[in-house]
């Protein structure tokens, strides 16, 4: 299989997006320099690609979906800049975050500008399409804010259920993938039913992707994932694995787990190994893999009920799988 069957689509997007970034004003420098810096970081551009892929499913002219694709990428960058402030993250895509390189105030404002810029893209679509796109887009944007708030709430809660966790990642991560796919369908003038179906499929895929991140953080191969594994364990992050372990462990395991969660002084490698051992003894690696597979297959099944060609769906299914298999 061609490893990336969408190289051409990605190039079409880059050709559209690069001038957008280059043509940003120069002044005030402290506003546009951070924006340009952040948009220039090496990024996968998965979300705009999803929009273009779906437009192509319906044999639409790709150019028609470019503004929506750019809107979703601008929005994604807005949310990353703001999330990075809230999560106190020093790095993004291997480089300094905006609030680290400049300061939080500048990061707030840079994010704000990107959100407005995202909306401005819709003015480039036909009126009818623009209105439909914005309806999905705004709904999704609000979902992301809610998801980020839930994520922050979880930090100080000790009773987060798996269902609540899935709902959080659905809002924080998955709905934007759903939105990207639905917008691609809308730009291609797919039927309302088809468009809605792509939203659902994107949502399922998004959950599969996020759960894959949870999986790889513990069970991935460091060199392939591109970062040291175990970061979530060290930070006591409430991922699917930790929540499920707290739910299903026996008294002894739970005691050990809670011990690691509360310890202030520890050897990171030792903590990662010990917690990973508990996950494995509970067979959470395979349970999580099953969850991921289930969401993935639900997504592909949904796509196959659409009116898009099965051949194209199959190419996409392989591509989506390869995104998840990248580092196992």
């Amino acid at each position: 299989m061609n490893k990336n069957p969408y190289k051409k689509l990605a190039a079409v997007f880059d050709n559209y997006f690069a001038p957008l970034v280059n043509e940003l004003p120069q002044h005030p420098k402290n506003l546009y320099q951070p924006v340009t810096y952040f948009l220039g970081l090496d990024a996968k551009r998965i979300r705009p690609l999803l929009a273009l892929i779906v437009a192509d499913f319906f044999d639409a002219k790709i150019t028609k979906a470019l503004p929506a694709a750019a809107a979703v990428e601008l929005f994604h960058n807005f949310s990353l800049i703001h999330d990075d402030i809230m999560d106190n993250a020093p790095l993004r895509r291997g480089k300094q975050t905006v609030h680290e390189k400049w300061n939080s105030n500048i990061a707030i404002l840079s994010g704000d500008v990107l959100l407005v810029k995202a909306y401005q893209e819709f003015a480039k679509c036909k009126k009818e399409t623009s209105i439909q796109l914005q309806s999905v887009f705004s709904e999704t944007a609000i979902g992301l804010c809610e998801g980020q708030q839930l994520d922050m709430d979880f930090e100080t809660r000790n009773n987060v259920s798996i269902d609540e966790y899935i709902e959080m990642i659905r809002l924080k991560t998955a709905v934007l993938l759903g939105c990207s796919m639905q917008m691609g369908a809308i730009c291609a003038k797919a039927s309302k039913e088809n468009a809605a179906l792509f939203y659902k499929a994107g949502e399922k895929l998004g959950i599969a992707f996020q759960l894959t991140d949870d999986y790889l953080d513990v069970f991935g191969v460091a060199e392939k994932v591109g970062k040291q594994t175990g970061g979530d364990i060290i930070a006591n992050k409430k991922t699917w694995l930790l929540l499920k372990a707290l739910e299903t462990s026996n008294t002894k395991q739970k005691k050990e787990l809670k011990n690691w969660l509360t310890k202030k002084q520890f050897n990171p490698k030792e903590k990662v190994a010990a917690v990973k051992d508990i996950f494995v003894s509970l067979k959470l690696n395979s349970s999580l893999q099953n969850q991921i597979d289930s969401y993935y297959h639900q997504a592909i099944k949904l796509l196959k009920t659409s009116s898009a060609s099965n051949k194209k769906i199959n190419v996409f299914a392989q591509f989506a799988e390869s995104l998840m298999k990248r580092s196992k």
Copy 2:
């Protein structure tokens, strides 16, 4: 003259806006509680009122301008919440700011949601109108971000000119008034020329209003302004008065002024009195009053070249003047 000839319009807006606020979701509580709190603070709602007033100039059905009016008010609240974080402001409208009552992260997210909510209002307008409104709105929103950045930049600059200051307040404050008025005209299906003219007039009025704030902070009567005068002087805020004083003072005055600007320990009353004396000896009270009058008259002159009835413009001119005269 009736002190507020627009009581009815204000009530129509409140009747539209209150349910919008009341119907916000309850969950996640840490997202929507701050939003509801902030929107519930006692506010003048000048911007939505401007939109409705202009719609009424053209005898349009006021209901047609309500979504745009709500959008501008939601946007205004978004920008206040974010500006308050950046300015480290403890109070807004006499109550705790969102970042003070909750925290900065919650304030960032509450603002973000309000910006999206603002855009959602446009979906309630006719397609053609919606597109036109959003074009002005997004352009204005970006202007506000630029204005806020300039304002922050000014804090650490020592060579801000009066022209730069006017440009900053134009962006930070005035364009949103221009946008409100233009949106009212667009909703009333006024001609493009008329709509653009209302933007310009609103901008001029906005500059007059902001300069009035600068004036009142020093020369207003504390009881009427509703806050202790001299706050800008104590904080070394680069207002029109300070910038003009630095520009026009003689060597001795400049030395005294700079002395006050750099002093870390001082008696606030003494500082306010001394700096005010310099302003008065430079006749800046009357120079600033002339500036304010000039912007105000430019605005009214522009309005009178529109196709709206002169009678209605006159009522509005008196109302706008009363807003500025409130506390002299």
